[in-house]
């Protein structure tokens, strides 16, 4: 679920170089060496400088971990690992049926893939992060003696064993981490923005999200997945809600304690459960690639998304922006950018096994 705006990152990296600041002296200064006590691992995303953000939904926390994986990729290797579930299961000492794939993220510097896994399916499941390098070698990413920092999401007064938050997506853009979650009790829609490096003083803010529909009503709804994206020169989040509208929200609207109504720019229909999105460029045009639960991958041009007025009337067939479905690509459960020409996908095959591979960007 990487959803880092690469343009922003490149700009940030360039800025750092211009400023003459050494890499380590900047962001990882806020990290301390130790052993992060993760209760669970869920959504992942890379920030700059090989810093991996890991959501821990059970602890209601986000960890920033320095992967120390800063060596730029050399060569053209791209991973193709069939039955990756069997390989990871062997490494973690279980059968494939005892594993859950929670998310994946590709380190944009090295091209190594990080997968967040649950080893075991019961309440005592152990979190694990597994690394697959560009040649397809599967190793574990030991969460021991690493530089890290952590920020808690939960309001301490709300401690309850019953209430938990699923963290559906995290993304980093510029100097902020965006976190979307879903409560297992109230039907809330909170999007949290947290400045990074994490500080005690600023724990971030929570924004209530709304979207409209054809029927001229608006509701709160949890966000399922989102990406930071520049639209018409303005920083936006493109968010897919649990009830399928694709919504544009200007980042400048995300003010603390505010109620934000996004503009619905597309309706994805009933058979699309959005899982992951990436932004890419091909032949001078920009697209969003979106993995859906079972019905192929969708390619959505971003041209005009900034001007789309929003769907407020009943429209037959496809509403909003046009998109195409990449039909021969099925079973994609996770997706991330790999390089300029490729995306990395985790595919669940018809037999129930998993393949990790790259695909050419359509």
């Amino acid at each position: 679920m990487l959803r880092m705006n690469r343009l922003v990152l490149s700009a940030l990296a360039a800025g750092l170089l211009l400023a003459g600041g050494s890499r380590a002296a900047d962001l990882s200064d806020s990290l301390k060496k130790g052993t992060p006590e993760l209760k669970s691992v869920g959504a992942l995303t890379f920030g700059p400088q090989g810093i991996l953000f890991v959501a821990d939904p059970q602890a209601a926390a986000i960890f920033a971990i320095d992967t120390d994986d800063h060596t730029p990729a050399t060569g053209k290797d791209r991973p193709k690992v069939e039955n990756v579930d069997e390989k990871i299961a062997s490494l973690l000492g279980v059968e494939p049926k005892n594993l859950l794939f929670n998310d994946l993220a590709v380190n944009p510097i090295s091209g190594n893939t990080y997968l967040s896994m649950s080893r075991g399916k019961g309440a005592d499941a152990k979190p694990a992060i597994v690394k697959v390098d560009r040649t397809g070698k599967v190793t574990d990413f030991a969460l021991k003696d690493v530089k890290f920092s952590m920020t808690k999401l939960a309001n301490p007064t709300e401690d309850s064993k019953k209430r938990t938050d699923a963290i559906t997506c995290i993304a980093f853009a510029k100097d902020k981490l965006y976190v979307a979650g879903l409560s297992n009790e109230e039907f809330a829609s909170k999007l949290r923005t947290i400045p990074f490096p994490f500080t005690e003083a600023d724990k971030g803010t929570s924004i209530e999200m709304y979207h409209g529909s054809h029927g001229q009503v608006e509701t709160k709804s949890p966000i399922r997945t989102f990406i930071p994206i520049d639209l018409g020169g303005e920083a936006n989040l493109l968010a897919a809600y649990t009830c399928t509208p694709l919504v544009r929200v200007p980042v400048s609207d995300l003010k603390p304690g505010s109620k934000v109504k996004g503009t619905t720019v597309a309706e994805l229909g009933n058979h699309n459960v959005p899982l992951d999105m990436i932004v890419y460029k091909k032949d001078g045009k920009e697209y969003v690639l979106m993995a859906n639960s079972a019905h192929g991958v969708m390619k959505i041009p971003t041209e005009g998304l900034d001007k789309a007025a929003g769907i407020t009337e009943r429209i037959k067939d496809t509403a909003g922006v046009k998109f195409e479905t990449v039909k021969d690509l099925t079973g994609v459960v996770h997706l991330d950018s790999f390089d300029k020409e490729h995306a990395l996908v985790l595919i669940k095959t018809k037999t129930g096994s998993y393949n990790l591979q790259t695909i050419e960007l359509p």
């Binding site: 929670n102 559906t168 879903l182 054809h214 649990t242 229909g269």
Partner: protein
Amino acid sequence: MFFLLVQRFFRTGAIVNRLLLAMGVGVLLLLGTGCRPSASPRDTERSDGPHVRLTDETGTAVEVAGIDAKELAELQARKLKTDEWTTVFAVYVERDNKVATDQIPVLGDYKIAEGLIHFEPRYPLMRGVRYQAIYHRADLNSVVAHLFIAKPQLPPTVVEQVFPTRDALPENQLKFYLHFSAPMSRGEAYEHIQLLGDDGKPVAKPFLVLDQELWDADGKRFTLFFDPGRIKRGLKPREELGPALMEGKRYTLVIDRGWDDANGEPLKETFRKSFRVLAPDDVPPDAKAWKLDAPAANGAKPLTVTFPKSMDSALAARLVWVTDGDGHKVAGTVALSQEETRWQFTPAQTWKAGKYDLVADTRLEDLAGNSLGRPFEVAASKKVQPETQAETVKLPFESR
């Protein structure tokens, strides 16, 4: 019950290995409560060469014992790194009694101490999984052991309750809470839940399927949302398929017994909840309409609050509480009954004479997701305060 199976023999190939297995040549040890022959794994010390054993039933360590001093000293002198260690001693997950030639060994740390090779897997060996440990010896046959720790035998898990408990629900019912008697396994929930129409056929895609399932911290309560795209007006899923529930019809929620609990065992039986569907409920609950039955001072009888309609069970338990005259939260327990229309609070200590407040957080929802003061859906033209500004509603009462 803990059950350990160790079969030890010299490995001359997989065929012999299987033959020996079939002949029952292996050494069988039964350990644990009930049917164990009073041995601990360490009692299996043997003097006839190296052998592999589990240190105990936690699966946190595997050892090679009985290595002669010279062999061990040679190994120690090699100062092996983890990658190199796996060519000497490795533990594998067995599949069909076999280990593939290119199989990745179980991750862990190695050391030589007290005359043993000691392997600590990064994660404890899992109960119910079969492992093969292989100790390779230069110019000698390998030593192979099959390791297995049986799963505990627990009473079968059942669905204890599904909320809401009533059998008539609004068309825009937002969610169910499934309460289990023991922790459940994650990752397969939606495969085992069906909604059947009155013709007995499954309703297509009624629920919100999330890759991150919504469990409580204990893994005993599962939250099942209806697909909000089928509830909200003017969205494509509802326009294409209609609402998941239709007023006037009957449905059955089926939780099939094939759903594994955390121990990997199926449920005791399939659970069914039948209900009929009423008109959609678009009216936010109004705290002013709640009836409070104030308890007498110096007693510990519960404060009873009656809601005019059923409320969300989890939220009513969490978002309604009592404060004393100084505004401090009163300790006690909440119980819901009468189809979640009766809320009762029993204080930990007796009520004192004086003023109290019943406090409700405005995020409290009814069955259709309408919260205090705000319906689930709002006309776009209507101004609504953001929730972050709304807080609580107070209803005073006095204990006399």
